[in-house]
Symmetry: D2
Subunit: 355 residues, 4 copies
């Protein structure tokens, strides 16, 4: 370990937390990586050498005095409480997606980090992913023409979570990508969900996000119960179409110079739809590991005192969509984002009146 | 042409009608194939030799006296009227999907054919498709275990229709397959649709069919505006999963011996989900052209005086789902099949009362 | 049939001949298509209406007076004799690949056509294929850099031929493509072959063609006994690589901007190999049916009195390579083209001396 | 590190050696892993803590006293010398493929290990690969019927080696698999090779191995200069065909119930070839990391004093084929294995006579 630099605690050293530990080892500006997990039996001197070769604590309270920042990679239900503890201790925090399970709790985290003056980042790895950046450039740079829709599929057999449904588990990826690629937030959310194998939680779901300002819709299909592993986003515009296939190692992004031309437009016929067909291009994309890029940016923002481009408000926006989706599941109707974002202000106003 | 056998008229000799003409040439029990299309300039003697090498008429009225049966392959809006004309003339009819554009009109066709005593078949080619039969056998024979869901995707760039939306154009295939494979009819239908390139009609849509009696749901994604040609149906059960990929020539059906096992069930652990993983099998399937099989069965039923296994009621059931989907699009809510199936009876009852 | 234009006979109306009959029906400049096949029972007047809707003869001798040109689509062993008969009768001829089974016989056909003044074309459909033209442009236009090699695979289970080995059956395609794409003829041919299922003929073979003038090598793998249907040509140069996959409907050609850079060259390091990695492009290619293009060119050359771009010498060059391959199979050694091309002149010289 | 167990040195801690270090950490029966690489600057006490977290030496001579066994993962040219040093010191050795660059040197290693009584294993990871075991079971268990041929392709762009050609670099994998799956050794080897980018060594090559005892042939295509990464072995028999695709994560092995039936055999017709077409099956295969399995077996054999199933003679057999291939490249002819295997005995005999 280097003597200079930051000490970062990883809270929750399971499947995903271990990956943070691994990438932090190669992150510039890190002096020490500390593990925090109840599985670690803490010893007197507080720093037992453990399997991952890092100092470790069983409890976050014991660890906080020894770190400058924490990465929280525990199950979703515990994110808000652990995040608040860290912020209260003046520590910078990166919290795995979703930031919290309710808009209320996510907003509180954003407010707390703001007031204490620490960095708060959500673990939206895809917003640090070179292929997603390419997708955003294609959409926002106008190469697709006017954007029409995104269609996202994130399917596999497993890994079933016990504490949340498949929407909270998998859709944060697609919601954060959609918001990022479109540079906007949806106005309305509708959701369909089904419980097949899971007794308490939906294991297959479809979401529809309506970006009213852009006239764009994003459909999301998430599933723990599909024979194929699929991680694909299709973006269609008036001029071109793009597919981002995260399973296609060397060709994650494919740009199709294809479009439908309405009657009378372009070079097409006056009375019928025409189709434009051109080349298909897979641009070469240098692809550093997104988790490593994200964790490096977290450390850099702390070091430089700069605000992360993917910040608490991005994390909050995702949680808002998730909450709308949960309401839509229950009430079988489209739910406006305003319903959850304004509640706080209604509650605040109400509290003020009462006082 | 053979001197013995049936004379069959094909009404509408465009892209799809031409295919009927082609397969009828090899159908057993056919004496003559007659084309009916306004593009044919009719000559005095009524039987000009035309490009397809068949006798042809410009108008169905002129053709009906010369045929025993007709296949109607015109645009959807004209199906009901042309079908009624043929039935009124005592001719057997096969009508391309959808049978009609409203439940009312479809029911009238079924009633008329019943009362006149002619064969009425909808052009549900997929119900005569060997891969779909295999899928049905796997689902109904119990090999999948308890069925959970079907997920259907029928996507491509084009072919935009000018008179109907993508649901009426493409979803009849998936609805007829779903009803056939599950051996049931949905109780509720929900639909999401969007108009991107088409000024009047939805070009991308998602449907959800709820088979309440079975606890099974079918999701359908249809699109005229997608970079990939996709024709895929995934069926998932408690024991196995199947994918029917109509684009995979030699391996249309793949059976995955894969499942998720809830905590405490089977050999899985008591506290976590487990996954069963076994062999994947692509059964060999002899695959005669479904359109040829269908047209042969139509001729055989007429010849033998038997009722077709895929009959008017199958066609009606598809139209009912389509109508529910259209209502759901407009009103953004789940629509019960009973809303459209009972209307007739309500109307009938109302008429009776008035009298 | 049109009253003006050419009468073309198709000799051998089996699997492949039927395809010629079909495309000739849409070929411009054709007055009549006549079938010639022993399966046709000839009737007195010589023009029975048959299944394909064409006039037909059982014997080429009877047919020749009624045609202006013939397409010979019989088994390879009969090509030379039937071709000579047609040429002797002053008819233009298109002969399916291979032109003949020996260099001697192929050279005689070329000489005869030259002396009589009729068009002689080999049935090298791939030289009329838009994807192969694109491949040639990429190679000869320098986009690949210095060409290194072609690797061809033409595999499937079946269709076993009874009279020739897999080299004579399938390799003519790849040899003609290789000669066409490189714009040259190989100097040396080596072949490996095996007889597994076929009792008399090789059913799996590998060929190596050495284009000494270019420093390019073409490897060809042909097989009747493979689980996958493969029709793929890979062309690799010093700057880029191309794959022509005839099974990939919408993306037959893919251009990979990839290369290996030897130590010290380009921007690479001084002591190690480097790799250049750029975009991958599938250029849009309008793809008319190659057989239709070929047959139209045949008719056009006859009509205009012009020499076909793919002529008898192309057909002869393929036969020379085939003969070298057969010798290499027997003698297990590389065989120079000169060994078969110079024999004729040696024989001629010998004959001259004797005189 | 555990206090009980074996101390294993890894000689050459580059790309591949690092992988040994990683798997040895989870290998049962290991007390310590020691790195040996000139890149390690050795310190006085001989055990600097280095980047991989292991004790390290710059020179094998210094390391030998501190280890019980070594794994040699240096460039091929150094294998024999380093192996001999370790054996002379009484250490067990696992040597990466190829065991040596000449038959002579490989035979000497086998003889030395035999005489000293240490374990000698070649690093043939594929012989410890569950998919290869399945392939062997299918071939040797008779499920394919009479085996006809193997066809192997191991292609990619890179990684060019500077000291050996592509045959010595990549073909050892396929040769060892072929010998293992067929349970035999080839009688004759033929090779074609080309130098395109590499100035001194072949970068694309084709091999043919003739297993005369079985009537089976294995073709191997190895390349550093191909646009696609391919690792595929096709095995074809008289009844079934198998493809082992190492790039297909979940379906490495696919068994095709397909075959060609010669005229008059089986249920086929008397005068033509027929084709049997049945199901395609991808058997589920538990797939532990082959390198970990291999290294565990190495440790177990040492611990138990048992002979490894993949032993020095397997390594020697691969080197013999490699040497034949090199001769065939130079002399452009098939080379019998006997030419290289008998040389030693001829030399020995000659030496005896001289004495």
């Amino acid at each position: 370990m280097k003597s200079e630099g930051m000490r970062v605690g990883v809270v929750g050293v399971g499947y995903w937390g271990s990956r943070h530990v691994r990438v932090l080892r190669s992150t510039t500006g890190i002096a020490a990586v500390i593990g925090v997990d109840p599985r670690f039996s803490q010893i007197d001197d507080g720093s037992p050498q453990i399997d991952h070769g890092i100092a470790a604590y069983a409890d976050i309270e014991d660890a906080l005095p020894h770190v400058d920042a924490v990465i929280i990679a525990t199950p979703p239900a515990s994110h808000a409480l652990l995040g608040q503890k860290a912020i209260a201790a003046g520590k910078h925090v990166l919290i795995e997606k979703p930031l919290a399970t309710t808009t209320e709790a996510a907003q509180d985290l954003v407010d707390a980090a703001e007031s204490v003056g620490v960095v708060l980042m959500p673990g939206h790895t895809f917003e640090h992913n070179a292929a997603v950046h390419k997708l955003r450039d294609l959409v926002q740079g106008g190469e697709l023409g006017r954007p029409f829709y995104l269609d996202c599929a994130r399917l596999n057999l497993g890994l079933y979570q016990t504490d949340v449904n498949v929407i909270l588990d998998l859709a944060p990826h697609d919601i954060s990508i959609s918001n990022f690629v479109l540079g906007s937030r949806p106005a309305t959310v509708t959701a369909w969900g089904s419980r097949y194998v899971h007794p308490q939680h939906e294991d297959v779901a479809y979401l529809r996000l309506d970006y009213a300002d852009l006239g764009v819709r994003t459909n999301i299909h998430v599933s723990w119960l599909d024979p194929h592993k699929v991680r694909r986003i299709t973006a269609v515009g008036s001029k071109k179409m793009v597919v981002y296939n995260d399973m296609a190692d060397g060709e994650r992004i494919r740009v199709y110079d294809k479009s439908a031309v309405p009657p009378g437009e372009g070079d097409g016929p006056l009375s019928a739809f025409a189709y434009h067909l051109g080349d298909t291009v897979s641009p070469f994309i240098a692809f550093p590991e997104p988790l490593a890029v994200q964790d490096q940016r977290f450390v850099d923002c702390i070091t430089n005192g700069s605000r992360p481009s993917v910040d608490g408000s991005s994390g909050l926006a995702v949680v808002q969509v998730l909450e709308c989706a949960q309401i839509s599941l229950r009430e079988q109707r489209p739910v406006a984002l305003a319903e959850v974002t304004q509640r706080r202000y209604r509650l605040s106003a109400h509290a003020a009146e009462v006082r």
